[in-house]
Symmetry: D2
Subunit: 341 residues, 4 copies
C-alpha cells in the first residue's frame, strides 16, 4: 500500500513528529510505502513528492517546522484543481492521503473526500481554535514561548516601573493570550472574543502601578477596543494626529503611555511563537495523532480526522473540523479576570 | 471567613501557583483571610501558621517548590492527631481548609472530612497516577525536564556509539517514562506496569546498533525484570558476583554492557525532575485548580477535590482520589512499542 | 563602615547578582552596613535608600532586573545635583558608594569622584560596548536569548521558504548581532559599524534561496544602509510611497520582499533580550565584579571600576569607562562574512 | 588542496560547530576538499573517511556531539600506528590534518607533527583544564546545564528542608564545580584541587540550616576528603559498615545525613552535562576556533593549535596543550568561599 502525506497552512511545532510517527508505523509495522508531498496541496497538484523512509525521519522528532514544506495553496481556487490531484494520486499509485493542517487544509480534505478521494485528516492550528479537538499540537509550544517571554519582560517592567504590552498570536481566538497570560501572571489579558474598554484597561494599569507593581498586559493580535478598530490600522492617522505604527499591541502601549503618564512599551512576539523545538507535550500529542491517523487509514475509516478528547485520541468527521471556531468561553475568561487590575 | 491552606508530600512544580490563586481570589474577590499552615499536616497539628496576603504571593507563580514547606507527617499515625488538628483550627478560627497533596495527604483530608472538618482537596502527584483527574500539575514539568535530558543524551550516545539508560521517576506508574520516552524518541521504554524481559531489551538494543543508531532506553525507577527483582537491590551481590550499585537503571546499563559488548551508561535524573519553574501548562492547571478549590469552599462543597476532565475543572469526592492508582493501560504502552527496537 | 550601592541606566541581567555579592561579602566578611539607593542617581539625590541585609539578597542571584530599581536621572543635569548627593551621603553616613551602570552612570561616578566622593564603579552594558573591559554581564544573556529566537525562526523560514529579518539590540555597536548571528547561523549580519549595501544583501538572500536555504538576516537596530538612513524613520513616507512602520528590521524585510519577490518577514526581539534570569556566564561575571568592587572599596582604591581582562578581574580608571566606544573591529566582522550569502 | 578533520576523546557541545566552520571556510572560500575521518584516530588508522561538503554541515551548528563520531584510540599504543596513519593520509591525498580534541588527541597530534605530518590542533575539553587557552568550548554549556539543575534542586531543598549534594564533572580540575556553584548560589563547593575536611562541610551545612536555608553542596567528581579517599570506592565497605554505592556525591550525602540528622540527597548530573545543543557562547568560540584553524593550515603554520586569549584567537604550540593541567587557583577558590556556610 502506498500512502501520501502532506502538511498545509502555517507551520507549527510538531508537524515533523506527526510525519515521523506515520512513517515509523506505516513502513515498519504495516509495510506501507509512504510518499511525502511537497508544500501542502501544491504537492498533489503538481506531482512533487519524495519517498519517506526511516532515515528520512531520523532526528526530526525534535525539529520545528516541516520537512515537507508548506503552502496555503487551495486546489479549489484554481480550475481543475481537484481533478489534477486525482490524476497525480492515480499516477503515483497513492491509495490514501493523510492531510495535516488547519481549517483550510482540512476543508480541502473534506471536499476531496466527498469526491471520493480516500483522505484522513490530522488537525493543526497553533491558535487551538478547532472545535473538534480539545487541543492541537503547537499550541502548548506557543504558550510556552510566550510565557517565557513574559517571565523575561517582568523584570524589566519592574526595574523601570514601566507598563509592558505583549502582543501574542490569535487573530480570531484568544487561547494563546489566555493561557500565556495566566501562566505569566499578566495583570490584564485582552482577547478577540471580548472587545475591551480602553478606560477600564487604563484603570487596571493605574491601580497596579499604585500597588507598586509594574503591569504586564497580554493582548492577542486580534483583540479590538470596544469603540471600534478604525484607529488600529497601521499607517493611518489616529485621533491624536499620530500615524499608527504596527498592530494593537503597539497602539495600546502608546495609548497607555499617554493616558497614564507612565513609560509604556510594546513587544510583538511574532513568528518566534511558532518555531523551534516542540514541547514534550506537543511531541507526545503529535506522535499520537500520527499513529492514530495511520490506524484510521489501515481501517479504511476515511473522511475522518483524529482528535483529542480528554486523554484519548478519537475520530471525528472532517466536517466537524471546519464547522465551528472554538473561542474562549466567558467562564474561562472570568477565571483570568480574577487577576486583573 | 478564615481559610487555611497546606501543602503535603513530595514537592511538585505548581504548588506555589495553587497557593497564589487561592490567596488572590480568596482575599481580593471574596474578602477572606487566608492562613498558610507550615510543612504539611505538621502545621495544623502544631499550630504553626502564617497569614498570607497579596505581597506574600508575589513572584511565586513561576517558582518551584512550596513557600509553605512540606512534610510527610500523617496525623492519624500519632495519638490524638485528628483531635489536635480540630483544636488548632478552632483556636485559630479557621473555618475551612484547602489541602494540596497526593494520595496520603488527601487520604488524611478524607478522614478529617468524615470527622466533620470542612476540607477541600487539590490533587498533586508528579507521577500522574491519581485516577480521579486526567492530569495533575507537576507531571508536565517532570516530562519536560526528562525529555530535555534525553535530547541532550542522544548526541552523546550517537557520538560514542553507546547505549544510554535514563532512569526517570515512577515507582508504581510509568507515565513519566512513557511520555518522556515518546517525546525523546527513546528506543525502549520500561514501566512498572509491564515487567520486562531482559533478552528482549538486549535484542532491541542490538538491532538498533546494527541500524547505526545509538539506543536510548528510558526506564521508570519502579520497572522490574520479568525474572524477579531480587537482583536489583542496591548493595547486594548479583548473579554475576557484582555488588549492585544503584537502582534499575544502573543495573540495566551493566547488564546491557555485558550482554551486547557495547559501552553502556546509566543516567539517573533524580530530583531534578521535580524542581524548578513549572511549565506554562502546569502553571495554568495549578492556577485553575486553586481558583476552583476556592469556589468549592465558597459554595460549601466540602469533602470534595478539584479534578481535570478534558479541558474542564470538575469536582470529585475525596474518596476517589485514593480509590485507585491510575497506571499506564496496555493500549497506551502499545503506542510506544511502535518505536521499540 | 557604611557603603551605598545603586544601579543606573537600562536594566540588565546580572545586576542583582552584583548587589548580592556586595552584600554577602560586605556584611558577612567585612562587617559593613550596606545601603541600597533606589532608582539610580535619584536615590542619592533624594535620600531614598533601604538597608540591605542577607535576607534581602536571598533568591535574587537568578532574578533579572534590579531590586533597587533604576533610572536615567543625571544629577549633573540639574542645579545643585552633585551637592545634594554629597549632603545625602553625609546625612546617611555613607562613606563610599558603588555605582553599577553604563557610560552615563559611570560618567557621573567619575565626576563625583573628581569632586571628592569615594566611588567605585561596576561596568554594565548589555551592548558590550565599553572599551575598558573584555565583556560586561548581560551581554551573554542577550546573545543567548537572541540565538534561541534565531533557532526558532529558522524552522519557520525553511518550512515556508521565507526570508526572515531578526532585529536585535545594538544602537552604536553590533556585538549582539555579531555573536547571535554567528551562533544562530545567520546568512547575513548587519551592524552599525558597517553601513550596508542593499543590493549586496538582496544578492546574498537570492543566492541563499537558490541553494534551497531560507535565509535569516540578523540586523542590529542601529545598522543603516549605505545610501543614508533618511528612509528609515518610522512614520515617514519612503521612496516607494509607503509610510515606514518600525525600524530598520521592518524596513529591510519590506525591501527584501519587494526586491526578491519572496515572502519576507521581520521579527523585532526588543525588550525580551534584556530580561529574565541571567545565564551562568553572566551570574559568575556579575558575582566576581561585585566581590572585586568590595575589595576596591576595602582597599580605598576609589575612582576606579572593575573590569574583565582575559579571565582576571582587574581595575581600570573610571575615565576609561567613558573614553571610547568599543565597536566591532573589521577582523571580527570578516569572520562572520565567511558565512554570508 | 585536500584537508582532513577528526574529533577525538569525549564528546563536547561545539564539535559540530568547529567542523562546520572548517568546511564552510575551507570549501567555499579556499576551494579545499575537506575529508572527515571517522571516530577519532581510528579514522586515519583504518582509512574510514567521508567527504564533507556544504550540505553535510547544514543544521549541525546547533547540534551537540560530533557527526564524525569519536573514540579514545591512540595510534601510539599500537605497533606501527603512526606509520599506518602516514600511509592512509598519503593514499587519500590528505595534505594537512585538523585534529579536534583534548590532551590525549592533541598529544598524538604533537607526536605526529614531530614526525613530519602537517597537523593543526583545536583544543577541546569540557573540563576547561588546558593551560594553553583561556576557555574551551563545551565548558560554558556544561556550566549552563549544571546551573540549571542547581536552580531546579534549590526549590526541592527548601520545600523539604533537605541538604542536596550535586555531583558535577571534573576529575582533576574543579572548574565546572566552581562556576556552576557560583552561578547556582551553592553554599559549599568542593573541588579536586583542595581536599576537603568533612567536619568543616558538616559545620557549614548546619549553620545554613540554622539560618533557615536548605544547603546545596556542589562537588566535583574528583574531590576527595582530606582524610583520604579510601572510603569512596564504590562497592567497598566503609567505616560505618555500609557498602558504598556510587561516587563522592552519594558518599557525602550519606555522611551529611548521618552527621547532621537532616535528610540529605545526592544528584549525579553525569552525561547530561556534555550533551545537547551548545550555548551561544560555545557556538561562537567553536566557530572561531574552526575558522582560525583553517587560517593556520592555509598559512602553513603546522604543529600549532588555536587558543583563546582574552577576546582574541591566538596560536600556541601543540606542546603547550599537553604541558600543564590548568587547575582552579587559590584566589579563584577564595572568591567562592565568601558564599560558604
Amino acid at each position: 500500500m502506498r500512502v501520501g502525506v502532506l502538511t498545509g497552512g502555517g507551520d507549527c511545532p510538531g508537524l515533523n513528529a506527526v510525519i515521523r510517527a506515520i512513517v515509523r508505523k506505516g513502513t515498519e509495522k504495516l509495510g506501507w510505502e509512504v510518499l511525502g508531498f511537497r508544500d501542502g496541496w501544491q504537492g498533489p497538484l503538481t506531482g512533487r513528492s519524495i519517498p519517506l523512509g526511516l532515515t528520512d525521519v531520523d532526528h526530526i522528532l525534535s525539529r520545528g517546522g516541516t520537512i515537507l514544506g508548506s503552502s496555503r495553496t487551495n486546489p479549489y481556487k484554481q480550475d481543475g484543481g481537484a481533478g489534477a490531484i486525482k490524476n497525480v494520486l492515480a499516477e503515483q499509485g497513492v491509495e490514501a492521503l493523510i492531510a495535516i493542517g488547519g481549517e483550510d487544509t482540512l476543508g480541502v480534505a473534506r471536499q476531496l473526500s466527498e469526491e471520493g478521494i480516500r483522505v484522513v485528516g490530522v488537525p493543526k492550528t497553533i491558535d487551538n481554535d478547532l472545535a473538534a479537538t480539545d487541543y492541537t499540537f503547537g499550541f502548548d509550544t506557543a504558550v510556552h514561548i510566550a510565557t517565557e517571554s513574559i517571565d523575561r519582560l517582568r523584570t524589566t517592567a519592574e526595574s523601570h516601573h514601566r507598563a509592558l504590552v505583549v502582543e501574542v498570536m490569535g487573530r480570531h481566538a484568544g487561547w494563546i493570550a489566555l493561557h500565556s497570560g495566566l501562566a505569566g501572571g499578566a495583570n490584564v489579558i485582552l482577547v478577540p472574543e471580548r472587545p475591551f474598554a480602553v478606560d477600564k484597561v487604563v484603570e487596571w494599569v493605574q491601580s497596579r502601578f499604585e500597588r507598586m507593581y509594574a503591569p504586564i498586559i497580554v493582548v492577542a493580535e486580534g483583540a479590538v477596543p470596544e469603540d471600534g478598530e478604525q484607529a488600529l490600522h497601521s499607517g493611518e492617522t489616529d485621533a491624536f494626529g499620530h500615524v499608527r505604527l504596527g498592530g494593537v499591541g503597539t497602539w495600546l502601549a502608546d495609548v497607555l503611555g499617554e493616558r497614564t503618564g507612565k513609560e509604556s512599551r510594546a513587544v510583538v512576539l511574532g513568528h518566534t511563537q511558532r518555531g523551534g523545538t516542540p514541547t514534550a507535550y506537543d511531541r507526545v500529542l503529535a506522535t499520537r495523532f500520527g499513529l492514530h491517523a495511520v490506524d484510521a487509514v489501515a481501517e479504511g475509516d476515511f473522511g475522518t480526522m483524529v482528535a483529542l478528547r480528554g486523554t484519548e485520541i478519537r475520530r471525528a468527521g472532517l466536517d466537524e473540523a471546519t464547522a465551528e471556531l472554538k473561542t474562549v468561553p466567558p467562564d474561562r475568561y472570568a477565571e483570568a479576570e480574577v487577576f486583573f487590575g
